[in-house]
Symmetry: C5
Subunit: 97 residues, 5 copies
């Protein structure tokens, strides 16, 4: 899994029920110091994550289908949780709230 | 998932029914600012995406087989939607139409 | 999926029936301009691809097992087709024959 | 599989039973000389790994679900063991205890 | 699949039967000229590969579980064969024995 930060959204007309009423988030991937590492993933939101929030991402199809409770579904990356704190080498590199 | 842009096509003689009558698109992968990041994927088109259009790509075999409704099928990356807008840090980095 | 070019072969003694009588191809991965991007994959040939030919590669275990018609089988990357033409930005970056 | 080193933890509110009572570890990935290679993974701990310990990581959904004994579960990377020693070219590049 | 070279071993206490009595090999990944490309994988040995030998690696969970004949099992990368020869552009870039 990876830690990311919500930086945007994607609006797309998709002919697959799994996307109905679900937001697609642009999530910058963070490195172990809590800074953007340069990559991103488009993730389906399952927790109501807002802009700027740090999130835990699982990028695997079966995990994603299980979380949304729909199989089959063409989906791979999802946000499974808001990150309250990420500590590395004793320092809080990510801390929310 | 990733956002890409259709930049070309591949014509290939493939002995697998899943490819009959389906176009193979060359999709540049876009970074979070909407510009090509350097990589690409060959994706099966399922939405009638045209040259220059921004698209949402799912790169996972089970997702791809579910969208085309054929299993087994040797297929991994598909275009699942046209991207109408991708907003990052409050700015529309991709906007169609 | 990716487009590659056959540049060599691997001879290996493997104790798995799926490899009996099948060639292992060294395939350079091509970028969107049709040039080697630096990486490669060892792919099981399923179409009789020859040295120098451009090919379509699917790198996913379930796809590979379906094409060879053998499951279980320890196999992941396969050549599924010869690429006749790859067009990018209106130009033929790969054209065979 | 990869060898990593535990450098931190992530605290996240996740609405999925598989994460209840399990720690999420920030694991730097190590290169073949035992030094951090720059990347990391957030892994579910299954062995009680402590800060600074070298660990063996399996980054695959089915493996992860099998180790935690819960399926379905949105989980991909897990720590499956403490690394006692990693020897490369006759030298112990990682040695614990 | 990829070609690698055995450069070391990992000793790890793992509470999963699939690892009992099996060696974990540190395998440098080789590029298409037969030289280390910088990455490596920890692979379960299934062929008795020795230090310095070139090997064929399959990095996929289902393949790995099939080769070891144990499912479920938390395992992803395996050595499936010793590479006798890897020829690229008419030259033997790897040749054993």
């Amino acid at each position: 899994m990876k830690v990311g930060r919500v930086v945007g959204t994607v609006v797309s007309t998709i002919n697959a029920p799994v996307f109905d009423g679900r937001r697609l988030l642009v999530c910058d991937l963070l490195d172990a110091s809590g800074r953007p590492e340069g990559g991103y993933l488009i993730c389906v939101d399952t927790v109501g994550a807002g802009a700027g929030e740090a999130v835990l991402i699982v990028d695997e199809g079966n995990s994603a289908r299980q979380v949304v409770g729909m199989d089959p579904a063409p989906i791979r990356a999802i946000v499974v949780g808001i990150v309250d704190e990420m500590r590395v080498d004793g320092e809080a590199v990510v801390r929310e709230g």
